[in-house]
Symmetry: C2
Subunit: 808 residues, 2 copies
């Protein structure tokens, strides 16, 4: 069952039923001001950091599920309705929500009133615009009222929902004309406030939640809407809100437009006050005036659309399969940008409280955005590197507001260091900018270092932390956060992510070994580029030794072992009772070049197909773990089929897709791709539940009661890795240090496709033909009509080049 | 405006309108299982610790305000209603909620169905009983359905509302007959589960929230109630709930009764499972069978009532003023028991997340419960002492589940140590049990110590931490948590409670000096009792020196100074711009004996009356602080009139009442008492907002927009201190080391009152006569007809004694 459809031309997903299987959301903003918005205008806004600078209040896991948002009510003659369906669940005559790139438009009709509400954050400013058009479709002159509503959060999201003894006493506002200023704690240490305004004279306002709603009412039946009269309430403590009322007269057929703005302002300490107790509103007024007319707003919206057009123009495909096109051209890249912006901090599954920017997470995410925003990727790499310790390990997370490592989550995830190599290599492969290696970014302890020093520390962190089988020590955990081989947790509720009861645990990770072998050659290359030949040699030796260790200790009969536990017993082998096979090392060891010559890679991938494949994708392990295993940790804490205990953990499926392309199996690579790519799952939206336009972190596995149900959409490394798999390995347009490699591995039935790829200043129009209907192999490549040697498109001076690729 | 009335005979408050100005709540349970319940059945339940072992889910500061609870729905012929008003806000024909001592009864009528729902936790068991009677008032035979609903919390309340990535995947239940077992995480480290059952065969059930409610519905309009058919859903992740449906047939006039139980079970590790994946239900079944009939439940309820009758029988008064009677005899003592049980952990203003058992808080609370539960008080003293450091300082809070100090809140509140002396002295004065001093309770570091050693450490902590004026260093803060003289916080959102930017701050507290002088003589007495005469001498000298320091540096012209700040400048003097006078030192310095001879006490209390008195009680300071003062901290962060910045902070009003009784001003003492005692404020319930039967922590002060509005009811030291003030100092029935002192200080117009006081095994019936209509002074006391010397009733062997007191 579908709840909408894709509009590929407008690059929108159009939702046609408001009661989607879960709220289907979008993100507003892509710089410092962000909003989450559901298909019925639920959600919240924040500045930079969803935890520390939350601007509007939202209640997670509430009843109803999506309660709180940017709510508008239209009032006429004692009746009212919500043009966005929520909160009243109004019985609308028509409804559609168009989630686009950085904007959302909700359109509806009721009582012969047509409403269009466009939500977006303009580029360059900390403001969220709600552009609302109301049209009288009747033949009569009408008087209506428009009420706005949003609830302010007292900035610190966690404190806001726990510390009522204080928070019910601090709320303060000012109202000046049509603008409501939320200034809680501005009287003391905050030098920032938010405001909510409309570009019209208002007939009334409310700033106290109870005055507007009534204590025992829900958002759907506010007291004020019963009378249609605002109370002009001023909040003193309790819960400050912003609500305007506007009296609107509409002739038959007439349309009027209103610009609401939610903004965020910071003042310097010495410029905080206009007069005693009255906040300085200069910056707010200036900002408001930038967007106080339809013309200005329309212009800003056009600019935003152009911005996204440009971002997406770096990679696009023409292909007979529209699902593939919309995934590659629009939604996967869009999701990559969102994960770049938000990391894992705030979605409808991430409460925005506890997670900041992850070292692993964001380094991985960069793999999916380097081609769109190389400059910002470079900046992020430097931010991430600055939270690395001198020994190569890193703070697992940092807070975006302060860019300081988050002590609560700690460190010791031994895969973390390597992701920096992946990210820097991807950046250089995209840009050719080796200069980044020489840029200075101190370690977390302040010690001066270059980016290359960071990479060396990363590489050496593995070399310096080997276990009894010469495999990398896993530390607290590797990429699989939930495989906690040193936690041995017995205490209920204890976080598996931070506890570690076994000092100097010898537990080892074959996955990290595979990662090391995958990233290692790039590190060797970069070392040579830095003229560190001795180091390069040393690194090559380390890689050889790791290869030997994996070959000796990392192979089970038919697949790769996952890890060695605290007792140095192997996990992920046929001799284990549960979890005989894990997905992670299978992908990475083959990417790292193991088993390619002796058929073990093929055998392994056949095992994956046999053991882990399902109609909804590849499961993370098999068989699922039926009882808690103290030596394995969180992975065994989940009911079978969920999360790391046997769900389809979408993030790692592309590793297998890539491995399949390496051995030339384009059928399977694409089969796996299309099983989890959301556009291909649109028809089963009711089962899938989360948005059909973005990846979810997981889909419940075959042992789950809800097999096929997705959870944790939007903020997942799934986005970046799937884009890498489809663009670089299946479609085979792969940036490399010395050029753009053309190496498709596709289903044999594909005859042809064309990719436009901007790469180092040149727009390559790459037409791939598959006359023999094979999976892999390039017979000839013509660049601007001239055949080239090999499969590498070199950088050149032309702005555009036509490339013909003949497979064979 | 009133919303109900007191029923003094039944010891209940009867609420007659469901939409009270704020949810008016009650507490169920008084041992290890607790429930908060509002007048419309909202609230939640937990085992021991509202933070770490939350059994049902509740959303604070929600819309509507009180969402989530023990919800029942009655369904008949396609229609349904909520007999408790919530969640449907049903238009009931009649409604009343009776909050009693440890139980709540909600009765209503609608559609000729009479429903009575009684909620209580029986003594000795971890179970909450919902006894529901439904009577058919019509003349027709009827078929109805009863639906139950409650939502399980995943035990850790904070994690439950932030960590959805995990928590949406872990939920697990079992259904066995009429019992729903909530077993999330039981598969791993939890060895406990909860259950929800009913003593009847059920026609259906639901355990998955969405299946029962529907994703976009609220509690008021569940999907299941639309059809009247349960889905028999089994929760897998997301949000487990418990809901039963019962088909009920009622003849004309017939009543039926149903016993629902919400219980908590812990199993030993080796007894966790009945069979693979199936939890061991033996203990649950045993517990269920204890309360599965009306007879058993009625018996348990009677036992509970007797228990409370007995608790309250230690102190009761007969007096012409019913408001005084109900405060003293019922509600103040009841609130004391609740603060004993819950400390500050969970109310409708305390989210139950961040606060455990406070060292200061609970030591103070014991002053109000020592006469009721001396044995439990003794136990609590030992728990508290065990979190004390060897130098006398203490963890400011500990978690009730683990009894370990809470690192997050830290220590350094320099009043903390002294409260232990107050508590132990109160215990000994009540019981005469000096043996407690010899009991062994190690310090937090494990070092062996006796309770007396703890007291010595407490006393010496003050002596060893004096500042430049020989006054006690304030440390992080004293009783006024918000007077943070060493915080100097500039960072927005930083907790004033933990930050300290000034090392070795010389800031001093005159209030601690007053406390020291108040508790000091008791410490001297106890030292002598322990034959520590040298120590006693030393202590006396320290007290003399403190007295001298207060006299020299602690007096302003007309009142006591509050403190010296980081710069050694005085705070709370006429020379300050704001907060020229604080309430705290005025009460404590006079209780400590300063200014009694030279008229300064009178002058001070006149100043208090002139500067701090208002129609709603005594404000904490004056004038309120208009701008943030970095050297004063949180006190200046509140808008004027709220909280510590000039509200009526009810907790400290009794200190002034006591001081007034010391100088003999019974008029003012009682004036202050009656201004804040909730029963006296019942008529202004709409303004007061919180419950008219229990104290609130604060009432907004005269500078507040909402002057007279109370906040933070129930869990406040206000309860204990007001009981001390009224019972010991105004009514003048005061336990002392050697007996019960009789020393009333009352309004002159009072002619007579009688107090029944159980004291060390004897029930004293004390009749006080005031023939000359004076405030203070005792002319004669007769015990069992015999006049005694002095004002002290000595312990004796009789079970009962009649005491006649003639004032004069």
């Amino acid at each position: 069952m579908k709840y909408g459809h894709f509009d590929d031309r407008k690059k929108e997903y159009i939702i046609q039923k408001p009661d989607t299987p879960y709220p289907w959301i979008n993100y507003l903003g892509s710089e410092e001001f962000f909003g989450l918005i559901s298909n019925t205008a639920g959600g919240y806004s924040f500045y930079k950091d969803a935890s520390k600078r939350r601007l509007t209040r939202y209640r997670y896991n509430n009843v109803p599920i999506d309660a709180g948002g940017r709510y508008y009510y239209i009032y006429e003659k004692g009746e009212y309705f919500s043009p966005a369906w929520a909160p009243q669940k109004s019985n609308l005559d028509s409804y559609q929500c168009r989630h686009g790139l950085g904007y959302t438009i909700i359109e509806s009709e009721k009582n012969l009133l047509k409403t269009e509400m466009k939500f977006f954050v303009p580029l360059g400013d900390n403001i969220e615009i709600h552009q609302i058009k109301i049209k009288n479709l009747s033949n009569e002159h009408r008087k209506i009222k428009l009420f706005s509503f949003l609830e302010f959060c007292l900035y610190d999201a966690e404190d806001d929902m726990t510390n009522f003894q204080r928070n019910f006493n601090t709320g303060e506002v000012e109202v000046d004309g049509s603008t409501i200023y939320h200034k809680t704690e501005y009287r003391e240490r905050r030098n920032h406030y938010s405001f909510y305004t409309v570009n019209q004279e208002i007939s009334g306002f409310d700033t106290d939640r109870e005055s507007f709603l009534g204590l025992y009412n829900s958002f759907s039946n506010p007291d004020v809407l019963k009378t249609g009269e605002s109370n002009n309430s001023i909040a003193h403590g309790w819960s400050p809100i912003g609500s305007h009322s506007l009296e609107i007269e509409l002739n038959a057929g007439q349309e009027k437009e209103f610009i609401f703005q939610l903004g965020y302002i910071e003042n310097k300490e010495e410029e905080k006050w206009e007069s005693k107790g009255v906040i300085n509103k200069n910056k707010a007024k200036k900002l408001i005036s930038k967007y106080n007319s339809s013309d200005k707003v329309n212009k800003a919206f056009k600019k935003l659309r152009k911005h996204w057009e440009k971002l997406l123009s770096s990679f696009s495909i023409k292909h007979p399969d529209p699902k593939l096109e919309r995934m590659v051209n629009i939604w996967n890249q869009y999701q990559n940008m969102v994960t770049y912006n938000l990391a894992r901090s705030a979605s409808y599954f991430e409460s925005g409280i506890s997670r900041g920017i992850g070292f692993r997470d964001s380094n991985q995410d960069l793999l999916g955005s380097a081609h769109m925003i190389p400059e910002r990727v470079k900046k992020r790499i430097k931010d991430l590197a600055s939270t690395q310790f001198e020994d190569g390990s890193a703070f697992h997370q940092y807070q975006p507001l302060t860019k300081k490592g988050n002590d609560k989550i700690g460190s010791g995830f031994n895969d973390d260091p390597l992701w920096l190599i992946f990210a820097v290599a991807a950046y250089i492969k995209e840009t050719g900018d080796y200069e980044i290696l020489k840029e200075t970014v101190p370690f977390n302890n302040g010690k001066k270092a270059t980016i290359f020093d960071h990479l060396e520390a990363s590489f050496m962190h593995v070399v310096n932390n080997l276990g009894p089988h010469n495999l990398p020590l896993i530390g607290h955990a590797d990429w699989n956060d939930c495989l906690n081989l040193s936690a041995f947790s017995e205490k209920p509720g204890e976080s598996f992510q931070t506890v570690s009861n076994k000092d100097n645990s010898p537990a080892e990770s074959v996955m990290i070994a595979g990662m090391f072998l995958t990233a290692g050659p790039d590190f060797v290359h970069l070392s040579r580029k830095m003229n560190k030949n001795k180091l390069a040699k040393k690194a090559e030796m380390a890689l050889e030794e790791m290869k030997a260790a994996v070959n000796k200790y990392g192979r089970d009969d038919e697949w790769f072992v996952r890890a060695y536990d605290y007792y140095s017993k192997p996990l992920g082998t046929k001799d284990n009772k549960y979890a005989k096979i894990f997905i992670e090392p299978q992908g990475f060891c083959i990417m790292g070049g193991i088993g390619l010559k002796d058929g073990f890679a093929e055998k392994t991938l056949d095992s994956v197909n046999r053991k882990l494949n399902s109609e909804h994708g590849l499961m993370i392990l098999d068989p699922t773990i039926k009882e808690y295993q103290i030596n394995m940790g969180e992975v065994s804490s989940y009911p079978p089929g969920y999360k790391e205990n046997g769900a389809i953990f979408c993030h790692n499926n592309p590793w297998i897709m890539i491995a399949e392309t390496i051995i030339g199996n384009g059928e399977r690579a694409f089969e796996y791709y299309s099983k989890i790519a959301p556009a291909y799952r649109e028809d089963i939206s009711k089962l899938h539940r989360t948005e059909p336009y973005v990846y979810a972190q997981m889909i419940a596995g075959k042992d789950a009661a809800s097999f096929g149900e997705a959870k944790n959409s939007w903020l997942t490394g799934t986005a970046a890795w799937n884009f890498v798999a489809i663009s670089q390995w299946i479609l085979g347009i792969r940036p490399d240090f010395d050029g753009l490699k053309i190496d498709p591995c596709i289903p044999a039935e594909w005859d042809e496709y064309t990719v436009i790829r901007k790469f180092r200043g040149c727009k390559f129009k790459i037409n791939v033909k598959n006359p023999k209907n094979i999976n892999k192999g390039v017979e000839k490549i013509f660049v601007d009509g001239k055949e080239i040697e090999g499969q590498l498109l070199k950088t050149h001076d032309k702005d555009e080049s036509k490339v013909e690729v003949i497979m064979g």
